[in-house]
Homo-oligomer: 436 residues x 2
């Protein structure tokens, strides 16, 4: 029951930087974000970093008449921070929590506590099934020495998996959010090449916003400008991506970003700029979309995809090596703590056998050392469990990537013309022979 | 490109009870399981509780010529224990880890460490897209006082979500695994009513196996028989569920279970019985399956589904109440630890201000008490974080259930004939008014 008239559809995305008591002007900014959403005639608004449910409920109340449907995705300790406001009924919602998301002991970065995830809501727009995804990936704190890169690559891998697997029945797919990745970064390429999602910034007919579509700019008073210097004062890490299907052609008529301070106020909406994309859904009469939908990726892009997955696999292997090393260190430290504890107990038992001998060391030091050994033992045990889980998740991702490469090889065999010799070196008989 | 000839497809499912050094006759049983899989002419074998990768690799090597394709899903500390062996190429694999899965401090139950999940593999059988799911849900240790019930209900909810959302493009859907739920349990009804999956035991034309299809029987020497007494010596907790689509009719020609000891051996394959189902895929010429696929549930079953979701929501609320209480207890204990630590430090500082005064209590007790307070503080902090995550996951599930009920209400409004007055009492204007 697809309508044949073209449909205009406006999507908004903003990382709201809503950490109560820590983010500057948090309360005032949520009022302004509410005002902005009220003014703009949007179909759907995708928000990230709405960490506090009270802020979501404030927006929900404020926007109730214009956006009667909303969903707040809950995950982790304070997350997921993802919220959707919609003019259209939300028929279904589903959340996928990323298997890796930083480390709990890196509390100053806080990502682990945010329970980063990808949320999906299902809308029906004049008979068209529109799948809307919103996500927020692990932050990048130091580009030169990015210890979280393997985690972000795994998140990008799981994001593309989630989108591909859950959108087979979609007429239109839209993803909005803060990917914390530049347009040419490995994760972005992985996501786009595998899902076939298009970038509204590069596809739009009209663009109005920050230079080169930057969404994280040095002029922003909330931004730490040091990290942005090498990039000419701005980076593009927030996106609205889209794709149609055999049933619907989707084009991006316009894309805009906010540009610094809110008019009439000394500060902007957030430490990120907001994105607004206007799409045109044009139902086709081809009706041949079903087989296209299933594969999710266009075969002439397969060699590029093979390279990207190979690159991602290498990054996951680097992460795996690091996680295994950390696990090894935790185990070694734990064993040292145990040996020390046993040694101490052995020394303490000496007076029991040799009556009259003085206690070898003072009671206070004995208890203090004992407590320390026990603390080391317990904390290394927990770290060992945590790193083992990280190792399992990375191994699992690598296995899935190997499986994908093997499946691509099969597809390429069936259509060898798209294959350049660079992409296929050896047959895939054993684990070791997969270089592909 | 769907073939028009009917296809026979044999599926096997077994919980292997493969805990090295703890499960009895573990190594011998994996040899026998390998022999069984070699003899049976299966298309796909779905294994659970293959906890050790070495056992998977042993089977992979042994079965390589008959089942050249396999996938081992990795999750958690020692899991997920899920493995798939297939005669057909596995084109893609995807894993969803359940958000709740017991407690890490309940180490004797071990479920948390297993990282329970649902795995999906994608096969192409003569042009048909067959989606195969394998899962293992949280165990039930005490049916009368089942403290894990809310977790299992959340798992069943996430399982049905995962299947519905990822199988829109499937011609055939098959789920095998150990659900740890009886056929009429809330989670089983939730899963079956929402996804439309059919039970091979009730749908099969021929059955050969244990009485009433039991897969966990008291005659099994590895089974703790006490728990099975109220159920006449056996329960059915392992399943092979299936559904076709508008493109393919699926029928279950036969289902069989193993019956106790392996012929010629004094022990069975596992503490569960294995299931083997023979399906017949008959491609239809209707080609009207697409819209049916999208909804995932048949509208005349909607009132029943509404009741089931309501029931599940109540159970999640019970779990939420319990998790909030536990979080409160953790917070209170942590505050007590903190107060004691501060008090101790305050007493210890007295000699600093009143020179000459004796140390109020011996050094040894001081350090011991300090260490104890610190340990209490740290462990309650971690428990607080853990319970907060549990609360978030339960709240998130409840929100999704409320959304689902609201969407059902809309569907029922559109076709009011299927609605009995029991199912719809009030309009859905506010959170409180949803009883539905």
């Amino acid at each position: 029951m697809t309508t044949s008239a073209p449909i205009r559809f406006r999507v908004f995305s903003l990382n709201c930087w809503g950490i109560r008591y820590l983010s500057k002007n948090c309360k005032e900014r949520f009022v302004l974000i509410g005002d902005l959403l009220s003014q703009e005639q949007l179909d759907v608004a995708l928000l990230q970093e709405v960490w506090c449910e009270k802020d979501f409920l404030f927006l929900k109340k404020k926007l109730n008449s214009i956006y009667p449907y909303s969903h707040y995705f809950k995950s982790g300790f304070i997350g997921s921070g993802l919220a959707v406001f919609s003019r259209h009924r939300i028929h279904d919602a589903f959340l996928y929590r990323y298997s890796l998301n930083g480390y709990p002991y890196m509390a100053q970065h806080g990502d682990w506590f945010g329970g980063k995830a990808v949320g999906k809501v299902l809308l029906n727009i004049s008979g068209l099934t529109v799948h809307i995804f919103v996500t927020h990936l692990h932050a990048e704190y130091c580009r030169e020495k990015d210890s979280y890169l393997p985690h972000r690559v795994v998140q990008a891998w799981e994001l593309q998996q989630f989108i591909r697997h859950t959108s087979a029945g979609a007429d239109v797919v839209i993803l909005g959010g803060d990917l914390n990745m530049h347009p040419d970064d490995l994760g972005t390429r992985l996501l786009r090449n595998y899902t076939g999602l298009q970038d509204s910034f590069s596809e739009t007919a009209h663009f109005d916003g920050c230079e080169e579509g930057h969404t994280h700019i040095s002029e922003n008073p909330f931004t730490n400008t040091d990290g942005l210097v090498p990039f000419g004062g701005g980076v593009r890490i927030d996106y609205i991506l889209f794709k149609g299907s055999g049933e619907v052609d989707v084009s991006c008529e316009s894309l805009s970003t906010t540009k610094g301070p809110v008019p009439g106020h000394p500060f902007p909406y957030s430490d990120h700029e907001a994105l607004t994309a206007k799409f045109l859904f044009t139902p086709t009469t081809k009706g041949n979309g079903y087989s296209e939908r299933q594969s999710g990726c266009v075969s002439d892009k397969l060699p590029e995809l093979v390279n990207t997955v190979n690159e991602a696999r290498t990054e996951v292997k680097v992460g795996l090596h690091c996680a295994e090393r950390m696990r090894h260190t935790a185990a070694r430290t734990g064993i040292m703590g145990l040996v020390l504890l046993v040694l101490e107990l052995a020394i303490a038992t000496i007076p029991l056998f040799a009556l009259g001998t003085e206690q070898p060391f003072p009671k206070a030091s004995f208890y203090l050392l004992g407590a320390l050994c026990f603390a080391v033992l317990l904390s290394t045990l927990m770290l060992y469990v945590f790193y083992s889980m990280e190792v399992k998740a990375l191994q699992g991702t690598e296995d899935q990537m190997r499986l994908a490469l093997s499946s691509f090889q099969e597809q390429l065999k069936e259509s060898p013309k798209v294959l350049s010799s660079d992409h296929l070196r050896k047959p895939l008989d054993s684990k070791d022979s997969i270089h592909f």
